[in-house]
Each structure stands twice: as structure tokens, then as C-alpha cells.
Amino acid sequence: MGRFIYRRLVHGLVVILGVTVIVFVVTRMVGDPVQVMLPLESTPEQRAAFEQKLGLDRPIPIQFVEFMGNLVRLDFGESLWQKRPAMDIVFEKLPMTILLTAVGIGFACVMAIPLGIIAALRPGGVVDRVTVFGSLLGLSVPQFWLGLLFIVVFAVQFKILPTSGTGTPAHILLPALTMGLPTLARLVMLVRSSMIDELNRQYVKTSFAKGLPFVRVVGLHALRNAGLPIMTLVGWEVIRSLAGYSVVVETVFAWPGIGLTAIQAIEREDLILIQAIVFTAAVCVVLINIAMDFLYKLIDPRLKLA
């Protein structure tokens, strides 16, 4: 076990380091953030002074050494755009993305399990075929378009939900729904196929024959055995969302999460904020990966961790 933790942590560190170095190199290739930040009519002297203040006039290797030094202290410096510590911004936005992800994927899980089970009860039946086709459709509709559609229908036509932003619980419904639908589609397919497998097993048939209640057989046995792949998928979806896929939904609904902030930082060539965001995303991904491995172990102790 100790060896396992050690190896995962080392690998995680390699990932985080790799990502930060790549981002450092790539962002230093950005033309010139100063040009974009100052008004068009600024004089060359004003530009030079500004550049010097940001420390962007020094040689790249020196900047890199300093950057790595600061990295150890989790201090990326002040965001060029917002003029406050980049990590403050990240810590302010990250919970919003986590909230959106949790509600969206939570909704998907809650819906997917009953839907998948119902579909699996009669493979090839009407319900099953509708579910499968619906899932395929859900996988095929682009998220950004779905979001726009929701805004037009629910917010502008019926005026029952807000178009964008945050504040009340009602604000999260449309973004979470948009975020959760593709996940729901993938999960339904998975639950359905694993349930079809499980329901055909001898032990399930025997349990039914013994007269055990349906909910108990399906819920306790079949579902538990299907748990591992479902969990893998859910974990993967969470990682996807935190690794940047939330940006589409956040952009459409002006949801102030890490994805929207990333896009804004990229538009404004805010190197420092970009670095902080990517670093945090990488840390999240690594942590979730490790957590998933532990969960595997919990669910299925036979699993060899290596």
C-alpha cells in the first residue's frame, strides 16, 4: 500500500510539473501582453515602464527560475488582468465549477441508474430502444447548442428560469442540465449494458426464483457488481469537467467558474492567471485519479493496486 501511494504521488508530481513547464514555455511565446493591456494611444515610454514593472523584460531563463521558486510556495504572482494574486482568483472560481460539476453529474447519476435499469429489464423492447436512441441523441447534440436552446426556450420564451449568472438555486438548473446531459447519456448506456449482463447471470435468476423482492436483487446485487465501471465513468466525467470541458457550459451561461475565467485569461493574455488555472486543474485531475484508485480498492478489495 505504501509503495502504491508513493508511486502515485511521484507520478502525480511528474504530471503537474510537466503541465506547468509546458504552460510556462507556451505562454512565454505569447506576443506581448503589454500591448494588449494598455490603451491604443499609449506612448512607447508608458509601454516600456509597464513591461518593466511586470518583469517581462528580463531573460526567459531568469523568469523561469523565479517562476519555479514561486511555484513551490504556490505563489504565481498577481494576475495581469485583475491585479490581485492569481491563486485568490482561482480559489474563488474553483468552487463554482465544482458546484456546477457536482449538480450536473449528480443529476446524471440520479437519472441514469433508474433509466438504465428500466431499459435493461427488456432489452430490445420499446422502452429500451427509446432509451438507447435518446442516449445516442444526447451524445450527439453539441453542448453549447443545447445550452443556447435551453436559454431560448426556458428563459426567454417561458421566462421560468434565469438566462445566466448565479445567485439563487434556480440559476444552476439550466447550466447543470446542459452539463449533465452528455454524462447522463453515457451513464445510461453503461448502466443498461452492465445490467443486461448481470440480470442474465444465474445468481440473479435464482434470487428471483426464490422470491426475493426486485429492488433488493437489483439494488443490492446487480447494481453493486456493476458499480466499478459506473464509478470509473463518473470519475472520468468529473475529471473531464475540471480539466476544462466546463468551459463551454460556463461560457454559454456566464457561469463564473474556472473554465470561463480560463477563457477570459487567454483572451487577455494574462500569463500568470493562465498558469495558476492550469496548475490547479492538473492538481485536481491528479487528486481525483488517486482518490478513484482508493475507491476501487474499497469497492473491490481483490484489486491489486500497482
Binding site: V36, E41, K53, M96, A155, P162, T166
Partner: protein, 493 residues
């Protein structure tokens, strides 16, 4: 079964949410801005979102009427010139900051010194760059001393938001602004909203709207959706196409002028005939009506709006005369030659569309046009490139001082960041005007400069774009030429 119970619960849950989101009465108006303020310190950034909010929390020494004329605000009267480089400002008595600090000469002097301090590194420095120092001469009087004569100091004071000397030293000042203005700061939920409430003790006209919420939405489509859904009362930068679809809209002549800078020193555009022909070739009226649905005015052969100081109303736009343009191009021997036109995309309203439309007109006049649309950073490299000037560069100039000096120094005067001419006569006119404190003489100098640039056709002047605001049915606001969103001037039915 379990599933049905779950569905039922979900429905109840949904119902609670829906009924919970009741629409507020006219107690509070909501304004959607394109970007969130990065700070609420009114002196450090050059940031549209910050300005939109702080314009209501802070007062400036001078202000403008909705039509753009400078009038005293915190000052009791217009500043007086006591010597060529010294202006005397007299303040209104009895004004206090929201936290009780007095607004007096010391506060104004402090505010001036704060913003011009090189260590403070304000991005607004270009508005105040000529100010050397300020000195209190009485409790309510002060002297502002400039580096040499500065005739547009009053316009600069229109930008000076006065901050409280004590509270502004608080490290939390940038998050908790305290001013003298008609609205007080209530709360700022980063990424979500800023709330302001009416200052019941305001020294001026009492504001009518009790409280304001600002929301920040970058996407114009999302802003529009919010307005259509009734969530917002005012949105900025409405697309011209939507004026007939939103409940109400208001449009005022804005501060933005799209122009094309022609290279007067080399290349095909060195020939005055060609430069004039390029002006004659473009149907500016069609651009205004076709691209902007009429929400733009044809620029009258100058980089100024009628409300700007220095506007020469004797100069009119080059008329649209494609035959003449074609003939002049032929006479200049430029027929069939290639002209390079540089632009960017997505930075300004319909920037790319304008560039392509102009290119179309130039082609009709007999030139080959090499349109090059660059990503903004690369575009800026071209715009600032002093060594190899492109034949023609599209740019949108924006002038918040409403005075010819800023635009002319940047684009008209030889050596300016965006100038493509080395006309010393024009440069000396602009320099002379810069230090001329006699308003009449200064006006005449600018008139001459406008005429000179017009005769030499250093630019293709295109349009003066109107700002369009989308508004809810209940909000009333006539708009302002300086694009400030002053809640005090709004009313709600």
C-alpha cells in the same frame, strides 16, 4: 416504486425553485455590463467595468452635460487660469464622503498626487500626464500646476475622481469604495454582482432609483437574452439589428471613430491623388446604413465628433463619387496596382465587415486590394511598426477626453503611435494648440489642422458610431455622449 418517488421529489424541488424566483418591483434596477471590474479603486485601472460602477460612487471635479459640455461638479465654478501653468479650482462647501470624511481641497490634492505618483503606476496616467503638482491654497481652494501650459486641464479634471484621504489607505479600499457620489457601495460578490444603494444624503439632485445591481456578461447574445427575459433593465453595446426587438433602446453618438490610416510617405498612397481617390471611392452612407442600420453617422472628414473641442464644421466628408475616384486612380497611374489594407477581427463592432466593405469599394475604383486580417496582437505590431508602414491600416479611435488633442497626437501628428505621415506643418499646428491656453486661438489651430489633414487626405474617414443601449420597458434614460452610465439620470416607472 423508487423511481416515481424520485421523480415526484424532483418535480416538487423544481416547483420550489421556480416560484422562488419572483421579479423585483422597481426597487432595484439591474444593469448588465460587458466585463466585471477588476478593482473598485477608481484611480488605478483603465477599465470599462470599473468606470461604469465607480462613476456612480465617486464624483469628479468637473462633469459634462449629457450633450458633452463641461460643467462644474465638485468644483463650485469652472477652474480659472491664474498663470499660464496654474489653474485655480474652487470647491463646493459641505460635501462629505460616505464614511463622513470631508471633501475639501486636501482631498482633491491628495487624489491628484495619488494618481500621478509614478510608484502608484496608474493606467489612467495618460489623462493626467501634464499635471506636475497640486497645492491647497485654502480649505476649499487649490492650485493645479502643470508642466507648461495645458489648455485641456479642465477636460482632465473631468476624469479626476476624488477619493477619501483616510479610507483610501485601507488595504481593502479596492474592494470597499467610498466616494461622495449619489450611490453607496453595498456588496461585491466577485464573478456575480455588485450592489449599490441610493445615498440619501447626496449633496446634489436626489437620485430616483433606490438600488442598483450590476451583472457581468461578456457574451452579447447572453446579455440580450437576459434583457429579453426581463432580467436586466439596461444592457450596453446592443447590436444595431436588435433595436426593434428589445423593449426599448436609446442611441447616442459615441466616442468611436473607425478610420483608415493611409501611408503618406511611401508606396502607392504617397500620391495625394490616390489618397483622395480612396476617399471618394468609399460610400460611407451605405456603410452606416447597411452595416450599422443607420446607427452611425458619416464622419465629416475629421477624427472628431461635433461635440469634441476642435471640431471644424466647415469641413465635410469627401462625397461618394466612384467615377471620379476611378478617373483619379487612372490619372495617377495606379490602376491595377495592389494596395495593402490591414485590419483585425472581433476587437471592435463590425471591424472586419468594415474592412471588407472598404476593400470592395477600392476594388471598384480599379485597385487590387490585399486585405490582411490579423489576430489582435499581430495587428498591433503592424499598427505600431514605425519602420515599414503598411499602405492602409484600419483602426477605431476612441477619445474619452472629447478634445482633439488626444486623437490628433496619436494619429495626426508625425511620430504619433498611429501616424503615417511626416507632415511638419500639421505637427506644429498640433503642438502649438497643445500649449495654447486661449480657447479661441486654440480652436482656430485645430480648425487649421483638421483642414490640413483633410486637404492632404491622410486618412479615409469613415464613420462615427453610435452607442446603443437596450432597455427594459420600465427604465427611462436619454443616454449621454460620453458613454457614462449615470444611474442618477435614470428613472424607473
Amino acid at each position: 416504486m423508487n423511481k416515481w418517488r424520485g421523480l415526484f421529489l424532483a418535480a416538487v424541488w423544481l416547483g420550489i425553485f421556480l416560484t422562488g424566483s419572483a421579479w423585483a418591483a422597481c426597487e432595484k434596477v439591474t444593469i448588465a455590463l460587458g466585463s466585471e471590474p477588476t478593482t473598485l479603486d477608481p484611480q488605478i485601472r483603465e477599465d470599462g467595468g470599473e468606470r461604469a460602477v465607480n462613476d456612480n460612487i465617486y464624483d469628479t471635479v468637473l462633469t459634462r452635460t449629457p450633450e458633452g459640455n463641461l460643467i462644474p461638479h465638485l468644483a463650485a465654478q469652472m477652474p480659472e487660469l491664474v498663470s499660464p501653468d496654474t489653474w485655480e479650482v474652487t470647491l463646493r462647501p459641505g460635501i462629505f464622503f460616505h464614511n463622513g470624511e470631508p471633501m475639501d481641497a486636501d482631498a482633491v490634492v491628495y487624489s491628484i498626487h495619488r494618481v500621478i505618483d509614478p510608484d502608484f503606476n496608474s493606467e489612467q496616467i495618460s489623462f493626467f500626464s501634464t499635471i506636475k503638482e497640486a497645492r491647497a491654497t485654502g480649505e476649499l481652494t487649490l492650485h493645479v500646476i502643470t508642466n507648461g501650459p495645458d489648455p485641456i486641464l479642465p477636460s482632465r479634471l473631468y476624469w479626476l475622481k476624488v477619493v477619501p484621504p483616510v479610507h483610501s489607505k485601507d488595504p481593502k479600499f479596492a474592494e470597499k469604495p467610498v466616494g461622495t457620489g449619489p450611490y453607496r457601495f453595498v456588496t461585491w460578490q466577485r464573478g456575480q454582482y455588485i450592489d449599490l444603494e441610493r445615498n440619501e444624503d447626496y449633496w446634489g439632485t436626489a437620485p430616483r432609483i433606490p438600488s442598483v445591481r450590476y451583472r457581468f456578461i461578456e457574451e452579447p447574445g447572453t446579455r440580450l437574452a437576459g434583457l429579453m427575459a426581463g432580467e436586466f433593465d439596461l444592457i450596453t453595446n446592443l447590436l444595431p439589428e436588435f433595436t426593434s426587438h428589445v423593449p426599448r433602446s436609446v442611441n447616442v453618438l459615441g466616442l468611436e471613430h473607425p478610420i483608415i490610416i493611409l501611408n503618406a510617405d511611401s508606396g502607392i498612397t504617397k500620391d495625394l491623388q490616390v489618397r483622395k481617390a480612396l476617399n471618394y471611392a468609399v460610400n460611407k452612407m451605405a456603410l452606416a446604413n447597411g452595416l450599422f442600420e443607420g446607427y452611425a453617422q458619416v464622419a465629416q472628414g475629421q477624427l472628431l465628433s461635433p461635440s469634441f473641442f476642435g471640431y471644424n464644421d466647415e469641413v465635410k466628408a469627401y462625397p461618394y463619387d466612384p467615377d471620379r475616384a476611378k478617373k483619379m486612380i487612372e490619372e495617377a497611374g495606379a490602376k491595377g496596382q495592389t494596395i495593402e489594407l490591414i485590419g483585425t477581427s472581433g476587437r471592435w463592432l463590425k471591424d472586419r465587415d468594415m474592412v471588407e466593405a472598404v476593400a470592395g469599394y477600392w476594388e471598384q475604383a480599379g485597385l487590387k486590394v490585399d486585405v490582411r486580417i490579423f489576430e489582435f496582437n499581430e495587428y498591433l505590431n503592424r499598427l505600431f511598426d514605425r519602420k515599414t508602414r503598411a499602405d492602409a491600416i484600419f483602426v477605431v479611435s476612441s477619445n474619452e477626453l472629447l478634445d482633439a488633442d488626444k486623437s490628433f497626437s496619436a494619429y495626426y501628428k508625425a511620430g504619433g503611435v498611429g501616424a503615417s505621415n511626416t507632415d511638419q506643418t500639421l505637427a506644429s499646428l498640433i503642438d502649438a494648440a497643445r500649449s495654447e491656453t486661449d480657447e479661441q486661438k486654440r480652436q482656430r489651430l485645430y480648425h487649421q489642422a483638421v483642414q490640413r489633414a483633410y486637404d492632404q487626405a491622410y486618412f479615409v474617414w469613415l464613420l462615427n458610431i453610435e452607442d446603443i443601449y437596450g432597455m427594459s420597458q420600465r427604465l427611462e434614460w436619454p443616454g449621454r455622449v460620453d458613454a457614462r452610465l449615470l444611474i442618477q439620470e435614470m428613472a424607473c416607472r
